[in-house]
Every structure is written in structure tokens, then in C-alpha cells.
Point group: C2
Chain length 340, copies 2
Amino acid sequence: MTMSRRLHVAIVGATGLVGRELLRLLEQNDFPLAGLRLLASSRSAGSRLPFRGEIIPVEETTPSSFRGIDLAFFSATSAVSRGLVPHAVEAGAVVIDDSKAWRLEPHVPLVVPEVNGDTLAHHQGIISTPNCEVTPLVLALWPLHQRNPVRRIIVDTYQSVSGTGWAAMEELRQQVRSILEGEECTPQVYSHVIAFNVFPHVEDFSDDGYTKEELTIIHETRKIMGDPQIAISATCVRVPVMVGHSLAVHVEFAHPFLPEEAREVLREAPGVKVVDDPSHALYPTPLMAAGGDYALVGRIRRDASSERGLALWISCDNLRKGAALNAFQIAQELLARNLI
Amino acid sequence: MTMSRRLHVAIVGATGLVGRELLRLLEQNDFPLAGLRLLASSRSAGSRLPFRGEIIPVEETTPSSFRGIDLAFFSATSAVSRGLVPHAVEAGAVVIDDSKAWRLEPHVPLVVPEVNGDTLAHHQGIISTPNCEVTPLVLALWPLHQRNPVRRIIVDTYQSVSGTGWAAMEELRQQVRSILEGEECTPQVYSHVIAFNVFPHVEDFSDDGYTKEELTIIHETRKIMGDPQIAISATCVRVPVMVGHSLAVHVEFAHPFLPEEAREVLREAPGVKVVDDPSHALYPTPLMAAGGDYALVGRIRRDASSERGLALWISCDNLRKGAALNAFQIAQELLARNLI
């Protein structure tokens, strides 16, 4: 198949962590670009970013930024997405949005290409890429679910500070230095010191005692797996890691599932790499996952608390497959399916 | 009640992290000491530690170290405990052992005083203090279990490097410095870099894919709760925290349990402090727990995956209530019950 069509692309949030990963992906891959517009908040507008040997200015995002744009990647806050995505769609762009603003809207496909790329066919201009914890979770669980239906998921997370952004990474660096020097440190980005600490607080709390991040995992996983009956519980925890989110997962299936069988299924699964040789201390870690394109899955074993259960451990680069790479793959999928 | 009896006490592993906490506890509290002998490996023998204004020499532990000793605290490796504890008992000492060597022996009480102090009555010279994750777990679950029987526990841990010892704390410090300077670092204590990383590997792996730490949680929790039927699963994870272990816990009970009711029960529970006001970003963290005497419990909420479930989050100082303080409280309990 030849893809002769070339696209005018915009990146909203181009100066952010995910925006820069998107730039790198567009640069490294043979994506059919006709033009590239870099957009950001007024604060970042005026800066310049290198791309394929050129220097591209970063412009402020406004409702009229999308004239002539075919494809817009949004990696900004929910408020920005909620406000500006409709303008991009009205201007004729297809939007791939990384925020949580549109993910649960019934008319918006929430897509991990390896899992539910076929739902792209019904898009109405907006496509969402899931939460950075949900993408690795469904990459690992979907192929198992095809073999033996998933009934219940309990997941506890170990989330890196890059999920929050630049400022959080800088705060972790500075706090670590201060503490090693025996100095006091006052948290700015988070409610608590993150250096040499962990806390069960990712995104705001809702009234039922769950954080929005935990509810996100519950609702997005059900939507992508296409099964609102799956029981899910989660505790989301921030850890002093720069890049790479990890998940301890306990899954119950309709029937017993041998760990060896699950390992075989996952070895064939797209987007997944099995790293599971405990006798050689081989299992996923965020340092190992960072910079890579896969959800790394290991510690695959019987769940000791359930005859129909498996326990496993996942690490994934939250900026790449957890965000930018997945959005980029959605764009590739749209091209391959002639949906843009 | 007057406790006129004064005891000749030995600490095996006096120079280690837990040994030093024990020294501090003996110093700060009105413990009826007749004498104190500090013991360690041949490597640490010859050093001196201050205690109540004196300087006490550290001697090498040998089978004959326990002559005249009434009470011996062991905080050493399992191999050391297995080899030397019988000599201490033969010499007439009561041993409170912090290693995993004796914990699951049927004739050895495995004791958290707030939970099962009454099992001390049957001791035959050896008493074990549980794994540093198990103590906070049973402190939180036991009072709930009295109200509504626990059927199933899923726990994922966030364990600090002090659980491994001095060398691991120093390794974390050095690795953090190296990484901030952009230098390479080679792990010595652990199989992987721990700075800015996490890994699901605490203690060795057994053949079924579980680590010994995970199996320890399963077996010790059942023994202390006195119910071999409780289904338990665990993933144990090392995180770059200096002191303080945390646990994400999902519990199923025989009947539904309202979060408000559980919170009330835990507010009255000995050894527990409820820290649970998410609207003010109040929940336990290891930094908050470090140096304190309690298992801090928060994030108490309905488990979203079970009608009979609760989810909660615990942080506890692994060196104090997780080890030294619990051992010390066992000694106090022995005195109070005239069992020594």
C-alpha cells in the first residue's frame, strides 16, 4: 500500500515531556508530513525547537491555530483539551488527545492500537489515548482475556514523577540534593516531599475516597476491554522514579490459568515483552523500561489467594508507550486504515 | 505491680540498624537492667557503643557468650540465629529473635503484643518477632478481623532499603549522587540499581515464582491471626526510601464492612494511628512513619472490586515497630506477665 497523502500536523503542548517525545517520534519515523506546527501555552510561546535540521517556532495555541491542520496531537491539561479540541475538529483536523477530557465520552474511541484499533473506524474527529497506567495494563491483560475472560483486577501502582511533568522531575532532583546535604525541603509540586518517600496520591481525591487516577484506571480499562462487568480496584502511588511506571497486578479469570500458558500468550502479544527469569534476577523495572517501546511483563505466577488467579508485574515508559508512542501509533493506524 | 527483678541482657547484632534501635529503646525506657552485653560478628567485634553514659565494648558472638544472660535479643541473619539461639536457650536465656529462622516453628510464639501477646505463655525459650511487613499488617487487620472475619488479603509492598541494612542505605545515597552527576553506577548490594528505580525482588526467589519475603507474609500473617484458611497474595517491592515500609492492602471480609465503621475500629486499636483525611492530603507516608511507634493507616475505603472488601494503605517504621520496638515490647510483656 502506498500512502501518498501527506499531512499538516500540529502538536499542542509541544514543549512538554510528552510533546517532545512526539517530536522525536515524528523525526525518527518516516511519517508523511506536509507541515508541522508547534503550539503551547502563552508562557512557552516564542521558544524554538529543532526538527529535522530546521528550527520551528512555538506559537501560542488559540482557537484559530488549526486552520489547514489535518491532524492535531493534544498533550495538555484537560481544561485546555476541553476548550480547544472542538475548534480543531471544526477546522477539519482529526485530534488525538492525551488528556482525560474526552476519554469516557461514548462517541470518542479510546484506543490502544494493539488492543482495539478497530474502534478507530467510528471516530468522529476526536480519538483519545488512555491514561499512562491503563495502556500497559490492557496490553498485558487483553491477550489473556481473549483466552480466558478477566473477571477481576486489583492493581497497585508505582508511578514516576515524569507523569506530572518537568517541574516534578526538577523537584525530585532538588529535594534529593537537599536531603543528602541535610537541608530542609519544602514541597512545591506535590503535597509531600517525594525524595526518599512514596505517597498514595496521584491526581485529586473524589468523595468516595478514590483518587481520580484510580477511578480512571477502573473506567478506562473497562471501556478498552469492552466489558463493563470487570471488577477493578486500584491504589495509585507516586514513587521517586524519574521515568517509567510500574504496576503490581492480581487478576482473576473465569477459569484457572497456568502461569506457563499465560507466559506463552504474552510472548506472542504485540506491544508486550516478557521479562521473566527470576533465577537470574530478571523482571521488569522502570529503569529498564525507560526509553523503550514495550510494556515489560514479568513475575508471572499463580496468585496465591485465588485458584483462578494470576499475579504479575509490569513496567512501561509512561512518556512513550504510556503516552506519546501510543498517540503516534494511533496516527499511523489512521493512515494505514485510510481513516484520515 | 512491682517488677523488682533486674535482667542480664544481651543484644546479638548490636551494631546493626535494628540492634542500635534496641539500644536506644533500652536507654530511653525504664527497663530493669542488671547488665548489658553487646555482641556482633567478628567483623564488628572490638568497636564500642555508648550506653547510659558508659562505653560498652562489642564482643564477638560465640556459643559461650550467653552464660549468665537472662534475655537475649537476636537481630542477625537466619544462619546466625539458627546456629546460636539454641546455645543461648541452653544457657538459660529467653531469646527474642528478629530473624525468620524460628518464626514458623510450632513451638515458637510469633508475637505482636497488641495482637497475640497471650501466646507468650507457652514459650519454651524462643520467641520470634515477625517480618517487618507483617507486624503493621496484622496490627491493622486484627481488630477488623475481630469484628468481621478476614477471608482474603492482597498486599503489595513499598519497602525501604533500611530493611536490608546499612550497606543498602549507603548504596542508595551513593547511587543517587552518581546519577545526579551523570555517572554510571554498579549495584553491589542489590541485583539492580535502586536509586530512581523500584524492583519486585525482596529476598530470594523460591521455585513457585514467589520471593521468600512474599511467602513469609503469607505464612506469618496466618500464624499470627490464628487462621490458616485466610487466602493471601503479595508482591514485595523495594523502593528508594531510606526508612519506613508501606503497604497497599485489599481485604475481603465475611460480610460487608463500612469504611466509617472500620475507621472507628482502627481509631481504638492499640499500636495503630489512623491518618485518613484525603481532603487535606493526609494519609500515611514512610517519611511520616519513620521514627514513630505506630502503624499509620489511611486511605480506608470500600474496595471497588468487592462488595465485602476494604482497601487501605499502611506506613510503618520498619526498624522500630517493624523490628526493634516490637521485640522490646515483647520483653516488657514477658516481664509484665512474669514469664521471664
